[in-house]
Symmetry: none
DNA sequence: AATGAATGAGGTTTCATTCAT
DNA sequence: GATGAATGAAACCTCATTCAT
């Protein structure tokens, strides 16, 4: 098992899945781009599905790990959320291709992948909810988590569409949005 | 061309695409569910792609038509946006299957469909932006349209995941969210 | 059985077979050009093969009938052969489409049609041979029939290729060729 | 790409196309006779059309190459033409199957192949014309090339029909014919 | 006699996976 | 570990023919 060959395959698969989608990406495309033979693929991965899942799971794990930190952060909620959002956007931006697959493709592939997606995305939503619950009542936290997650995904989405969008722009847009969302909440709290 | 047969095929395709995704839905599945022969499919549609596009385009057209009304509505912005969001959710809820395909699958299929998706979703975002621009400055409208569209999609998304979610629940969640979003804006306006 | 509908179908089939070949001509093409419904075709012809054979057999019969006359003509051989060749070219020219099918397509379609072609073309060659045998010894007649038949077919062929070739040109080319062929024979006879 | 497998496929295709025609030969027939799997065919050829064209083009190229030699031969015309005709017949006889496809099937398949055929056959006719032009005036060369090409094709044709015809018989028939054709011309020249 | 919607067998082609070298 | 030719199941699609109206 030469780890380098495996990396080449993962990199190649990542790029192709993002660009062409799971079904339109052929194993033959992956090996061609990785400059290895067709048979080599099956030394490292049991199937096309396996390499796909490996990519997905890695991203999800890393993302969750980075976000879990904010469960134990002791700052005011606006700072916490802003940092969390920044972390989220940085992570997905740095792994654009897999994030694209994860957030925009996984759900539509087939029932098996749909279930996986639901499970994974729920984890993220749940985590966001837990963080918010430290500052707001349960119901408000629930709805805020929906607003914020939807908002961040939409920003990431615009980034995918608009290829010359950069990370800083995304983050500053996100902060503006967060401000708007919390101004309402703030007033309420103060009152 | 018996319109009834065509409808059976469209209905069958819609359900299957939503359930199994585009690629995992075989033409043989569609005709089996519609109770017609394999060849019959090709009397009504040139290809699997064509029936898929017909479904997508129909939903998009109807959705856009219903939302365009709000460009000329003369009420306060909160009422306008709430009505628009309700309309949106109603339409997608009543056409759950196609809406699921449209919002959650289209992007990931292949490059051609990706382009289509970008074009179509941009229309919706643009319309939302135009409505908001009647009440807010351009930049604020832009960011509000991102927040709101992301939020509605996330709600619809939760609805897809959680099968016993109903329309009323979705609408009331949405209204709560809209209130939160606009409380911030309101205060600013007032001040 | 409205003879007119049958004629429309035969005409339409003739043109299409000539232009696109047997396999590339669909029954749906034939009925469309004849302005009748798909089902109507099968009132007049048992199958696509049947209409094809009807066309072929008609041409062949008429051609043979017209050529048979020259078995009993009492002129010098050069006049006889020239008249026969003229008759041949006139007939195929006036029925260009079917003649094209007959002389250039039939052989390549399948084994059944190949056998038919061999049988039909042998009839023609045989007739030419019989006419020549009235003037020349058997072996010479055999070879002359091969030369002449090959020559006429080649002329007709050039006519098919070069769309603005007309009958008069073909006939005069043919006469020139016949002169050349027989000049050699002539000398021999004279000597 | 094992050249051996490709050869097996070409050989198998050649025989089947000649026997059953292009349309009646299924890819499944070709692979069965070549003893390889269905999918193997598509490693070596993009489509059924491609293998067909490869066969056609190879024959045509080889034939033309062998005949081009006679453009620079310095003997009397009768010897030159006889040698050329012998070469032609030898080549087509040794590649009976493809020659059959080329001379008797190509024209009738579809419009694309028809155009190809016209182009290829014109090359041959042109070459024959060029050789003759070295000895005869232009117009006479033109008509002689038509007579001779028609004659040779007819001979080859009889060979296809009459399976126990052999090369020597064909060649000697051809020489007899050529003699007859040129006796006329000869006399003229002499006179 | 005419229609035209429906049929379904059978064709071409794709591509994930295997396996002998 | 690496190769790449070979596999074959299964997909999409075509079109001659049928049949109820």
């Amino acid at each position: 098992m030469k780890i380098e060959t495996k990396k080449k395959l993962l990199q190649s698969a990542k790029e192709l899945f993002a660009k062409k989608g799971y079904y339109e990406t052929k194993v033959s495309d992956i090996v061609e781009r990785a400059n290895v033979a067709q048979g080599t693929f099956y030394i490292y991965f049991k199937s096309k599905e396996e390499i796909f899942l490996e990519l997905i799971k890695t991203l999800h794990q890393e993302l969750l790990q980075k976000l879990e930190v904010y469960l134990n952060v002791e700052t005011d909620y606006q700072t916490t959320i802003k940092s969390l959002v920044k972390e989220f956007l940085t992570e997905v931006y740095n792994n654009k291709e897999i994030a694209e697959i994860f957030f925009s493709q996984l759900f539509g592939l087939n029932q098996e992948f749909k279930q996986l997606y639901i499970k994974k995305i729920s984890d993220i939503q749940q985590l966001l909810f837990e963080v918010l619950k430290k500052y707001f009542p349960e119901e408000k936290s629930r709805i805020l988590s929906t607003i914020i997650l939807g908002f961040i995904r939409q920003i990431f989405f615009n980034c995918l569409i608009n290829k010359n969008f950069n990370l800083d722009q995304m983050v500053s847009k996100a902060e503006e949005g967060i401000d708007i969302i919390f101004q309402g909440v703030n007033r309420e709290v103060i009152t």
